[in-house]
Symmetry: C2
Subunit: 132 residues, 2 copies
DNA sequence: AGCAACCTTTACGTTAACGTAAACTTCCTA
DNA sequence: TAGGAAGTTTACGTTAACGTAAAGGTTGCT
């Protein structure tokens, strides 16, 4: 199997260009504990895992997650290393997030409907203006 | 027709209790031009329209809208009073919002799937822990 | 050697959306 | 009539998520 893998090493500016964010942001995410690139000397080296994380961070942002919340979610992926006692509180957190998101789904659908109405409204107004 | 209408006058604390926010927030929204209750003397009196607006503000927040953005959306409802020239820019704004929200829908569905996976994961880990 | 393009750390500045406190008025009631 | 509850304005404080310098190291031309 000759699996063509994408380059697994990125500089900070590689990522900043690819995701269209500043290097300042990327370093800040590291500062907040969401990324931990390796180093070559002083210089940060990002791998595929870092890149995926960055993508998840940005998606979280689009959903209104704070960086801290996204950090929590990252931790959840290490469930194996967690005690049974904590598992229940983790699942509670998951369920909270799920109901948040379900609420958001409803919200979005409602707003989309309204926006479509508004658009129709605009178009009709345009037509009546043109026919004068 | 005896239409039973809900009381159409609210105090600031009525609304703060109903929506579980502080009066500070409500006054702040007014300060930002999103609400404009009438006054009896000094005291703010809110009507049904104000209440609806407040609900919309909070829904906007859940969707990650800034107060300014929500304000823009409020203005959109006065389309009638707008010139044909502005209508196109309004529709552009609407379409931007629509694509934002569509993106969010995708994001949410993705995260919901992941959260469900995580939950399964947790439950399985719990089971294996219990069977030891 | 020089300098341009990167990278780094450190640190102060900025914006949105309130929190919090002070000082005051108005109304109700024990 | 004294107090308490709810309202008001004014204004400074706070947090998250960066922006924006400043000052300096490292690499690679030319």
């Amino acid at each position: 199997m000759t699996s063509k893998t994408s380059p697994t090493k990125y500089s900070i500016s590689d990522l900043s260009k690819e995701f269209d964010i500043t290097t300042r942001s990327i370093r800040f995410y590291e500062d907040q504990g969401l990324l931990s690139p390796s180093r070559k000397g002083q210089t940060r080296i990002y791998n595929q895992r870092d890149k995926v994380r960055l993508k998840l961070i940005l998606r979280g942002k689009r959903l209104g997650f704070s960086l801290a919340e996204t950090g929590r979610l990252f931790e959840l992926y290490d469930v194996d290393k967690t005690s049974a006692k904590q598992l229940n509180s983790i699942m509670e957190l998951i369920n909270n997030k799920k109901s948040d998101l379900t609420q958001q789904l409803d919200d979005i659908n409602a707003v989309l409907i309204e926006l479509n109405d508004l658009e129709d409204n605009c178009q009709e107004t345009l037509r009546t203006l043109e026919s004068k």
